[in-house]
Symmetry: C2
Subunit: 259 residues, 2 copies
């Protein structure tokens, strides 16, 4: 099983879209894929028709049981989606209270890593969708993943914010054996605007080593896909956005064998 | 002095862009405007050239002093921007630790409201830019504002998430004398896509009372403006995005006299 996290403290950069698009493709290609929604706002959870306010058992249950010292078989809280081979660990709005509840209590940074270990034989791929905030949930994802994807909009302010995200990554990286490999994924690229071209070449120059050589273009069909609860990579594999995510997945899987 | 908050738990919907655009216009029209950055990621702070990692005195200082029981003259931590009549209370990345530090400590929900009261004679307008997360910072903004603006992208998933934001608002509203008035602002409207048209008419039907009758259209010049650290409403007042924010400001100011 290989686990990836998708994170960026900046909001609206395509974290959930990246998670859904790659997860859909992994299932389509015959793998068993699990998506994990760590965002209290629950975009991924509501994408697949579950309600984050209803408190469907999910990620929050994992932390609750840990605090109560009770055991839990993770398989019992995994939900299915309409897509064959694609399952989901749901978020709930209660996750927003987790940082306050846990405070500086020790040992809460590895809850997710231990859960994924228990699911190791059930799935080939796991992708964790992070909230746009550095807190216990993002820390759990960075501790549990083998590789981190950082979607970044191709615009000036988003790149300024990237430096802060990379400092967080290097902080976590030092505390992990073998560090934390990451890939910057340029998203929402609109080749018609000068600002996007400048931003992209700045990104490629400044972070050459860790930036994917492709781009995810602007494609308004992503917004429409969220209405049909089906990843664009499945409903319209020929769309520009879908083809770009397929290239990204090919590249990542090729890299995995090298790393 | 009239204080507005701009909030939505969904990321990347145009909260910071709305804050900068309206604040810029208020200053241009001769008012004294203060912008407050409550997002640990500090988009608004870095928009005006300050670094949220450097720990420039700002919002975090307010909470720190309160916890230490020390007084602070808010005027001492307000920063100027390049724009005449537009000042800024900066964010810092340390704000991300606030929820953990404060836990369930009482009395931390009114720190911002009391700060704004102390600045009442210095400014005509205040706009608070919220992080995409329900926590102590958003709660402070909802307690301190007279009116709440909720930017919502005109797309399906964003509208599903709006129901959650409105439930948060009605929760806070019950605890305030006279409730909390709010306006939903449709943003990033792309009239060419069917999904956007359907989403907008759904928004107008379901939330007719509290939705602004206009729209903020998609305008790629917003991204370019963030590179010049000047609000689009000042650098290109004739751009379609700027004109839309000017209409919104006119409508809100007209409403303020009625409310
Ligand atoms: N390549 C793209 N082209 C056009 N629209 C896109 C693209 N990727 C994502 N979007 C749209 O942009 C919006 C934000 O995307 P998404 O919700 O995936 O971002 P996010 O980073 O997960 O946001 P949050 O910070 O709230 O978690 C959505 O409306 C989505 O449909
Ligand atoms: N009307 C618009 N048309 C086109 N682009 C826009 C528009 N409004 C905002 N943007 C762009 O969309 C991105 C997100 O906007 P912004 O940062 O203001 O959202 P936000 O809600 O403050 O995000 P966060 O959740 O991270 O705080 C930015 O790149 C901004 O330039
Ligand atoms: Mg998301
Ligand atoms: Mg913002």
């Amino acid at each position: 099983m290989i686990a990836w996290a998708v994170a960026n403290q900046k909001g609206g950069v395509g974290k959930t879209t990246t998670t859904v698009s790659l997860g859909g493709l992994q299932a389509k290609r015959g793998g068993r894929a699990l998506l994990v929604d760590l965002d209290p706002h629950g975009s991924l959870t509501s994408y697949f028709g579950y309600d984050p306010e209803e408190g469907v058992p999910g990620v929050y249950t994992l932390f609750q049981r840990r605090v109560q010292g009770k055991t839990l078989a993770p398989r019992d809280i995994v939900q299915s989606t309409r897509i064959e081979g694609l399952d989901l660990l749901c978020a709930s709005t209660a996750l927003a209270t987790l940082d306050r509840q846990l405070g500086n209590r020790d040992g809460m940074g590895l809850v997710l890593a231990q859960t994924l270990k228990a699911l190791e034989s059930d799935y080939d791929h796991v992708i964790m969708d992070c909230p746009p905030m550095l807190g216990v949930l993002m820390v759990n994802a960075l501790a549990a993943c083998e590789h981190l994807l950082i979607p970044v909009q191709t615009e000036f302010l988003a790149i300024k914010g990237l430096e802060r995200m990379l400092r967080t990554v290097s902080m976590v990286s030092r505390s992990r054996k073998g560090g934390l490999k990451h890939t910057i994924v340029p998203t929402m690229y609109d080749q018609r605007t000068r600002a996007a071209n400048e931003a992209l070449s700045h990104l490629r120059k400044t972070y050459a080593e860790q930036t994917w050589k492709g781009v995810i273009p602007v494609d308004t069909r992503f917004r429409e896909a969220s209405q049909q609860a089906t990843p664009l990579t499945l409903s319209r594999p020929g769309a520009r956005g879908s083809r770009a995510y397929a290239h990204l997945l090919d590249w990542l899987e090729g890299k995995m064998t090298q790393w």
